[in-house]
């Protein structure tokens, strides 16, 4: 058992390790007395376990030396920030070292122009908030613990908060990470990898999204030592609505109704009966006793539209049966409301001295059912339960309150907590929305994920930390001897059951229609399954026969995705093109991988015609109408705006894919928040088919904007001026889509997307700016854009219907072209680095590709899936990884 192994390996060597640690960080910063050990034995959850040693490093270099030493002695290391985790994440359940990162608390840089902060992990969230606020900026993740919790801890837990409903959870705001692997290797990604090299690009380089795995990995994959974080302009104003209901179901109806009314609040928080009562008693809120549920709905934005939006939300609340719905404009009243929401969990101590803090997520449409189920369970068990949460994204925190000195009640409380989690899973939810799995939710992981997915988690863990040094016993369930050698965790053999695969196409004309054929993409054949079963069978047959599988959609980007290759069979999802379901209340839909934008848009229009809400897929307009959604997910096509805004990966709630063992794997749900397990959706998104073939995707939808406008600014021959104008608009107007296009393209003179070619011909440029949102806000942004254009010596004019469509189309092409250029440039630079004489020398930026290759080797041991799509020249890194692993 891994537990025993760890215990035995720490016992003998800990004093030696302590000596070595003192040499690294200095005497003062290694603590091993009994008092200190008991002080780093807990977080804000219920589990306690003392470390053998506490080490407080001051720099990333010290962390590297610490990890090398720990690795040499095989001592486990648990990174810790402020210890406000609610799931036991930083509790060293197997002893070893607690690596307290509180001394690494510097804000290293704050680039106001580009809105990027580079910070050390021990920086307290609130400290970053206040540093950013001096420049009118904010860091969007706002967990309740923000005044004390560290940014590193927030990253490790993929923290959310009330603002997540509009601005997304932590992972969306991460622009680059630097972390130390279990063996002391430094890895850097994103902003932090390119420092000193290439100029910052609008697009992420295509590569496995390793940083996405780190976010929410609860310290099991690496120790984060630096973070590049996106800052956003603070909303100019916000307005809060307080609505009271006599039942939680009314409140839930109101939340679901917001989307139907086209409203996107910046927060929608719910409090149950007990919480209202406590807030009334201890904070003097003076709410009516009849209130059994309370909603705090907040809107933010530039200002003009706010009163109308809040009024409309109030109407939605009243239609859902609200007892009252009042706007709190007074800042003091708003602050009191939020204080009540924040403090309510702490007030549970007044009811019972202990509580189990829940954190389940259900689809928004099932919030009322969860409330009802919890009420039933509460009644049966006779144990009080507090209910607060982020109703807007279905993330609720049912807190079971109990007296720990009463064994009967304690047992009943734990049983009740388990029943609530099971219920959430029944309702299609997740076991944790933002608190993490830690140790407290570990027991639910087998219920929440299939064995195939759990195996994928382990494969990733092994790629990062083969000796289980980092935070052992957390986040993913332990198995006996969980190493690559263990048969239980290696990829099972593929069973061929004689089922015939879908027809194999070898006709060159047919192949060419899918971007295949010719000397560059010389696939031996093509399979186009028409059902999910056929897809699985095709993959099974191919991998069983050791044939290279080339996942494609309609082949729109084949020329870009693949290096020249010969052989292998392409599997196209083109005929798996159905919209499986649309769930308006949850703002989500499930589509087969081959579904195109056109098909989805048609289905959404149909829904609206039938009296449903007007919904849209956020980045519809920026894609080629006939490219497949699955293909775009595989390539993580970038969004239209600045800094990955609207990137495909931000739209994915869940995925089904066929892995290298031809098994069907599912992850995610119709919920926005889910931090259980590693973020496989983001790993597969942008993996270019190298880890599996995507069968279907759950995408988030958004209410169609009330108003849209397209502005065009002609810049003549001055490309520099056009680019400058585009940049300034991107920075200033959050919701804008901005592209520089050849003016020729605006006239609709055909496919003239290649900017470089056009510039030689005519050299005439325009900036296209698309705005969307509430009518008043769009008018406001128009003014802002006009001023910015004026300042840049340009004139931005509102385009009428026809020209606007053409302008958007030109912008779409320009956008796609810019991305293609970036991808090719990135590939060239990798090739150049590959050919360089010092290739293979360890550096932070080369460690990433090696790590990616290890993941690939774990998930696809025979490199059967799209090796030609591997961004790096595969053979080198592949063999490199093998050498590395055997050392």
């Amino acid at each position: 058992m891994s537990t025993n192994r760890t215990a035995s390996r720490t016992a003998g060597s800990i004093s030696t390790v302590a000596r070595a640690m003192r040499d690294i960080v200095g005497r003062r910063w290694v603590l091993d007395g009994s008092l200190d050990r008991s002080l780093y034995a807990y977080d804000a959850g219920t589990v306690e376990a003392a470390p053998d040693l506490i080490v407080l490093p001051a720099s990333g270099a010290e962390v590297q030396r610490i990890m090398r030493t720990a690795h040499r002695h095989q001592v486990s290391v648990v990174a810790r920030g402020a210890g406000t985790c609610l799931s036991g994440g930083p509790v060293p359940v197997q002893g070893g070292i607690v690596l307290a990162l509180n001394r690494m608390c510097r804000i290293l840089s704050l680039d106001v122009e580009r809105r990027i902060a580079v910070v050390e992990p021990g920086v307290i969230n609130a400290a970053l908030q206040s540093a950013a606020a001096r420049h009118g900026l904010g860091f969007m993740p706002d967990p309740s613990s923000l005044a004390i919790s560290t940014v590193g801890g927030n990253a490790a837990e993929n923290a959310g908060g009330p603002r997540a409903i509009k601005h997304g959870v932590f992972r969306r705001h991460q622009l680059g990470l630097e972390w130390v692997l279990a063996d002391g290797t430094l890895v850097a990604s994103g902003e932090l990898a390119r420092a000193g090299h290439a100029a910052p690009s609008r697009f992420d380089a295509p590569a496995l999204n390793l940083a996405a795995l780190l976010i929410g990995s609860e310290g099991t994959l690496g120790v984060i030592t630096r973070l590049a974080l996106a800052l956003e302009p603070l909303p100019a104003t916000s307005s809060t609505l307080l609505a009271l209901f006599d039942s939680p179901s009314g409140a839930a109806r109101a939340v679901a109704g917001l989307a139907g009314a086209g409203l996107c609040p910046s927060a929608a928080e719910i409090m149950g009966r007990l919480d209202i009562q406590l807030a009334n008693e201890h904070l003097g809120l003076g709410l009516p006793a009849a209130a059994n549920a309370l909603l705090v709905i907040e809107f933010d934005g530039p200002g003009p539209a706010l009163p109308r939006l809040v009024a409309r939300a109030a109407e939605v609340a009243r239609n859902a049966g609200a007892l009252s719905a009042e706007t709190a404009t007074d800042p003091a009243a708003r602050a009191r409301l939020w204080a009540a929401r924040r403090a309510s969990t702490g007030l549970y101590g007044r009811v019972r001295s202990a509580s189990i803090s829940g954190d389940v997520t259900v689809p928004r449409s099932r919030v009322a059912e969860l409330f009802a189920a919890v009420a039933d369970l509460e009644r049966e068990a006779g144990v009080p339960v507090g209910m607060v949460g982020h109703a807007g994204d279905g993330n609720l925190h049912p807190a079971v309150l109990f007296d720990p000195t009463d064994p009967g009640e304690t047992a009943a409380a734990h049983a009740l907590d388990r029943a609530i989690v099971a219920k959430a899973l029944d309702l299609g939810g997740s076991i944790t929305g933002e608190h993490g799995v830690g140790v407290e939710k570990l027991g639910f992981m087998r219920q929440a994920f299939s064995p195939e997915v759990l195996r994928a988690f382990w494969a990733i863990k092994i790629a990062f930390d083969p000796d289980e040094i980092l935070n052992p016993g957390k986040a993913i369930p332990a198995v006996s001897g969980s190493t690559t050698a263990d048969p239980e965790w290696s990829v099972p053999p593929v069973h061929r059951d004689g089922e015939a695969p879908a027809r194999l196409v070898t006709d060159p004309v047919e192949l060419a229609r899918f971007g295949l054929g010719g000397p560059a993409c010389a696939a031996a054949g093509l399979v186009i399954p028409e059902t999910h079963e056929q897809l699985v069978a095709a993959v099974r047959a191919l991998v069983g026969g050791g044939t290279t599988v080339i996942p494609i959609g309609r082949g729109t980007h084949a020329h870009l995705a693949f290096r020249p290759f010969e052989g292998g069979v392409a599997v196209s999802t083109a005929r798996l093109d159905r919209v499986i379901s649309i769930d308006p209340d949850d703002l989500s839909c499930v589509v087969e991988a081959g579904c195109t934008h056109q098909t989805l848009a048609r289905a959404l229009r149909q829904l609206a015609r039938e009296g449903g809400p007007h919904l849209r897929y956020a980045i519809d307009a920026w894609r080629q109408p006939d490219s497949t959604l699955g293909g775009e997910v595989a390539m993580d096509l970038p969004g239209p705006g600045w800094r990955g805004r609207g990137a495909t990966r931000e739209q994915i709630l869940g995925l089904t894919w066929i892995n290298a063992a031809a098994e069907v794997c599912r992850i995610g749900a119709r919920t926005v928040k889910d931090v259980a397990g590693y973020d496989l959706t983001r790993l597969l998104c942008g993996s270019w088919g190298t880890l599996g073939i995507i069968a279907d995707v759950t995408l988030r939808l958004e209410p169609a904007p009330e108003c849209e406008a397209v502005l065009v600014a002609h810049a003549g021959h001055d490309l520099a001026r056009a680019t400058e104008c585009a940049e300034s608009v991107r920075h200033a107007v959050e919701t804008a889509m901005v592209e520089v296009v050849a003016t020729d393209g605006l006239a609709g003179s055909g496919d003239n997307g290649d900017r470089d070619a056009v510039s030689v011909e005519t050299g005439d440029w325009s900036v296209v700016i698309g705005l969307a949102g509430a009518t008043e806000d769009v008018a406001h942004w128009q003014g802002v854009v006009s001023r910015l254009a004026d300042a840049g010596g340009l004139r931005a004019e509102l385009a009428a219907d026809g020209p606007a469509r053409q302008a958007l189309e030109a912008a779409r092409r320009a956008h796609a072209q810019a991305w293609v250029t970036a991808v090719l440039k990135n590939r060239h630079s990798h090739d150049a680095a590959d050919a360089a004489p010092d290739r293979g020398k360890p550096s932070a930026s080369s460690a990433g590709p090696f790590l990616a290759a290890k993941i690939k080797s774990q998930l696809d041991p025979n490199w059967l899936f799209a090796p030609m799509a591997w961004v790096l020249s595969d053979q080198g890194y592949r063999s490199g990884s093998v050498t590395n692993a055997s050392q």
Binding site: A100, A147, T345, G346, R350, S353
Partner: protein
């Protein structure tokens, strides 16, 4: 170790702590070091283990040192949603660790000799007075412009400009001065000499008496001019320091002495300018509740205690500057809330009202007015590193207000803030609101003209 009853009660209280860390959010010592051991949540953990008997006696000394980083500012207690009184828990643990005879060593000696009676501290202050009056101080610090180096310099900077003698030593002369000022003031201002019929015992604490004679004189003067009948009884130290060091027996001894000195029925109000004295005195009823000989009288004494500004606002005072049209000098003032007054007694508005009654004064609020200054009695001396970091935060806050003057209602805060201002190169020393009020009365008395 048998569990002292206070610690047992504390342990019961601690069951409600769910380690949510809202206390760390507000703990000034934790903010300074971010070490778990220096925060309220960490102290709770250690005390829980102590109470459960899980700590070897060998680590008790270590624990005592760790608990010494608590300022007893009470911010954690105020912030705790579960109502855990961490400051009381720390006091109980310090008591348990000190044992029945209280602290020993240097601190024990200081507590039992120097901090026993205002006169005792006064005696010890004598060499410091000579240091000031001989001109040696001015010489060494270049007239206060260059602080002495190192830790000594920090302590030296805490010393206010010491008068040549203590308040009590000069009381007789001061009473004569008051009488003379009162005559002029009544004549000029035209307020009819009146008696409010309120008999006030002025509890002039050790620190005010020895080091802040100016504050005591102002309080005495302000009350007298406003028609309060002021007496200065012979009192013992209030015992706050003894409580903080876990010296419960001596605290009770001092409390009994003070109850004896203050329980005369002719005393209507016990007033003090010191937040800490006020806070401690109000706890006498509770402290002596188990002593049948004292319980009733202690409760009566506790109920009569008022901070000076609190009394002025409740009992009434003449707003200065009404009687003449002389232009008042503008003065921007930031007010620092002493922990023991704001969180301890809930007195927040009254000092601000007194300040704002002074012509020309505008109040500029600190961003964190109730953050402890890091003085906390002897804390500044025993925990210099943490104390200095907290003080720096306070000084940054003060400088950001742009106010010219810092005011507060506690002599211990004034020592600490004085050091901050001196080391930060700010000329103005911290003042008590009554000092500004007294100056305004003097100005009224000395202004030519008067009511038309």
């Amino acid at each position: 170790m048998t569990l002292p009853s206070n610690l047992a009660a504390a342990a019961a209280d601690l069951i409600a702590c769910n380690k949510c860390a809202l206390c760390q959010e507000v703990c000034p010592a934790f903010a300074a070091t971010t070490l778990e051991t220096d925060g309220a949540r960490g102290r709770n953990q250690l005390i829980r283990l102590l109470a459960a008997g899980e700590l070897e006696p060998a680590v008790h000394d270590d624990l005592r040192k760790r608990l010494a980083t608590c300022l007893l500012c009470g911010a954690c207690t105020a912030a705790c949603p579960s109502g855990v009184a961490t400051d009381q828990v720390v006091v109980a643990a310090r008591e348990a660790l000190a044992g029945p005879s209280g602290p020993t060593g240097l601190m024990g000696t200081v507590l039992h000799t120097v901090l026993r009676h205002p006169k005792a501290l006064d005696k010890v202050t004598l060499p410091l007075r000579l240091y000031e009056s001989s001109g040696l101080r001015s010489l060494l610090t270049k007239g206060g412009t260059r602080p002495l180096p190192g830790r000594i310099g920090r302590m030296e900077a805490m010393l206010p400009a010491l008068p040549s003698r203590s308040f009590r030593a000069g009381l007789a002369q001061w009473q004569a001065t008051i009488a003379e000022v009162a005559d002029r003031w009544h004549a000029k201002v035209g307020v009819r000499r009146q008696e409010r019929g309120v008999r006030v015992a002025y509890f002039c604490g050790c620190l005010t008496n020895a080091m802040f004679g100016g504050v005591a004189e102002a309080v005495y003067g302000v009350l007298s001019l406003n028609g309060y009948q002021v007496g200065v009884p012979d009192i013992a130290c209030c015992g706050a320091a003894h409580e903080a060091y876990g010296d419960r027996e001596f605290l009770l001894t001092l409390a009994r002495r003070n109850v004896d000195a203050l329980s005369a029925p002719e005393i209507d109000v016990i007033v003090t300018d010191c937040a800490t004295c006020a806070h401690t005195l109000t706890k006498y009823g509770q402290l002596l509740a188990g002593d049948p000989a004292y319980a009733d009288r202690a409760a009566q004494v506790a109920a009569k205690v008022r901070e000076a500004c609190q009394l002025l606002v409740e009992g009434g005072f003449v707003a200065p500057g009404q009687a003449h049209d002389a232009a008042s000098t503008p003065l921007s003032v930031a007010y620092h809330d002493p922990c023991h007054l704001a969180r301890g007694l809930g007195v927040r508005e009254q000092p601000r009202q007194v300040l704002q009654s002074v012509p020309g004064v505008t109040l500029r609020e600190l961003a964190e007015p109730e953050l402890c200054c890091g003085g906390a009695g002897s804390f500044a001396v025993t925990q210099p590193a943490i104390s200095e970091q907290i003080l720096a935060r306070k000084m940054d806050d003060f400088l950001a207000t742009g106010a010219a003057q810092l005011a507060t209602t506690c002599p211990a805060c004034m020592l600490q803030l004085g050091a901050g201002l001196r080391l930060g190169g700010v000329a103005e020393r911290p003042v008590h609101p009554c000092e500004l009020l007294w100056r305004a009365y003097l100005a009224d008395a000395d202004t030519a003209g008067g009511r038309p």
